[in-house]
Amino acid sequence: MMNEQNLEMNKINVSASSQTRKKKKHAKIVIVGSPNVGKSVLFNALTGAYVTVSNYPGTTVELSNGKGRLNSISLNIIDTPGMYRLLPITEEERVARNVLINESPDVVIHVVDAKNLNRMLPMTLQLKNAGLPVFLVINMMDEADRLSIKIDPAQIEHILQIPVVTTALARNRGIKELKKRLSDFLQSETRFSDNHRSVEIPYPPLIKKAIQTISSLLKSRYALSANMLAYLFLLGDKEVWKMIEGKEPDSVFQQIKETREKVKAAYHVGLDLEIAKSERALTDQILKKAVKSSAEKTTTPTGFLDRLFLSPYTGFPIIILVLYLFYLFVGVLGAQTIVDFLEISVFGQYINPLVNKLLVSWVPWQPIRDLFGGEYGIITLGIRYAIAIILPIVGTFFLAFSFIEDSGYLPRLALLVDRFFKKIGLNGRAVLPIVLGFGCDTMATVVTRTLETKRERIISTLLLTLAIPCSAQLGVLLAMASTNPKVLWVWIGIVLMIFFLIGFLSSKLMPGVRPSFYIELPPLRFPRPANILVKTYTRMEWYFKEVLPFFVLASVLLWLGQLTGLFEIIVNGMKPLMSWMGLPGDTAVAFIFGFFRRDYGAAGLYDLRGILTGNQLLIAITVMTLFVPCIAQFAVTIKERGIKTALGMFFFVMLFAFGTGIVLHKLFAFTGIVL
């Protein structure tokens, strides 16, 4: 609830003090906001030609500094890196926050995305409660208009008591009004907040009391308000912790620490989550009054289903059920019925014999015949893999995946997995890159940079490299495993066990660091058939555009390798390793394919399914799951983690993958288990 009395008192203070101030000649402006909201466009609109870009001291984070003029006021404007809230996680956020603390800005312009006000307004509340002179710019109004989102800036201005302007900066809309309001705001010295101006966030009583107690104990001078320091201290901000420890007497610091411990003990699930919920509740109240969106009407309460999906007791059985349905749809329908028809009947009986026959009749040179036909030909291998094996498998997989995506199940799955992660000792935030890895490990490796410490980033990258198959690889491996249900479940069990093992080891490496992870839960809904079909079509179109040329190229490389004898040398070199794992020598070919693209390797294994026993199938798909990353992921790992770490991971994963294959083979031989 808003404290209306405080707001009224604030209004009086604003008008009273504004009359007593002098006109301002110089002003320092700091622009903040989430990434990609238009901060730099605003920076360019406010600055002239003189702009410097330099690293923030002691970091590699760049800051843009520019000069500008607004009527008679000369401006010094700083464009900060993207930040989501005042409690920093990444180095960029830390730099942005430190700029706010150290630069004593005359105005803090918070740029937000009109389409995502619900996510960005909590930071406006935090900035305001930090005692900073906030000026809110609601940008991207053109896009909000297109989505029929109607925003009433006057209402937000009235509630928050800060200037609010709406813009579409990329289209030069609203800049004139913004400059006028900014000039007025700079002339009004009352922009500096005091306690009367802070917004009352509906925290639970215990948290509210703790903030009051801590802030009343702070007697030194700080760049941020006492309330905000108390807030950041409660959330465990290390820099604020050090700042308070250095400025307050030991006895006072002890009292502050004790107050925090008491509240932390009461909210053992997540103090930061509780605080975020309160901020979100106030944001929702504000938006209820100030925003009208046609999208809101489609929201339906899904409390009961949410509880089912998110409870560990029902959530994990639901995951198994979802996996089973995937098995039926992708593994049985896609990988068995449709693949058998296309591969055995269409390619096996008609296309391949016809191609080989035509080549024999029309092409007198054996090497050219081998390029298009025979064992590794462009048509008989490359096109066959793409059309007869990959097409039905990824088609059914993408169809099922689009259904899950549109139903709203994915974020719920992420939350459920987060609980599991915490149990095995992993950082909650690591769940995001891991979940993204099921789409593409390459991009997920890029996302690991959002994690807080170097250790977390390395461990997540290792997990992605080792135990997370990308969507295409997962589809083909799932299809392969589905040919023998026992293999399917043992394979899932082994991969989970390895994940558990790495998680356990990582918890030993980084004990005690478990920040909460929270993600917005969109309403659950039954997906629209047209949406699913279009998404599936889009994915398949993309996949084939990307995969078909590669399959053709790989066939040409194999042909060249065969022609020069190089391919045979590599395969023969790998044969002893295959035999240690109890696999036929031909399996080496699939692993060579796998280094180029994981799904191509999986397709190579799929081609051998007829000659592999249950045990061999399990060993082959387990090693392929754990096997080295594809070239793209390896390149990203080098870029993100450095060549030494990337090479270290590469060799570790190779050893671990083939080592697991050898151990499994020995275990089967020792116990006599037959799958």
């Binding site: 995305d113 995502n116 996302v447 993600i519 793209a632």
Partner: protein, 65 residues
């Protein structure tokens, strides 16, 4: 576009910056959510035509109350 993982709404142009660090970004048609990194594909011309066709078909089958 709306991210199916975190619900963030964005334009395909906004999604360019998280991709810049990927070595494949110049030849890659995927776009990533600027908020969480989840990958999506912008619809191609053919996909848009298919959407129009399907919307027409599904809307036609809808029974008005």
């Amino acid at each position: 576009m709306k991210c199916p993982l975190c619900g963030y709404e964005y334009q395909p142009e906004e999604a360019k910056s998280p991709c810049e660090s990927c070595p494949l970004h110049q030849s890659c048609s995927l776009v990533c959510c600027p908020n969480c990194g989840y990958e999506m594909l912008p619809e191609s011309k053919t996909a848009k035509k298919l959407r129009k066709l399907l919307s027409f078909k599904f809307n036609k089958n809808k029974v008005e109350p």
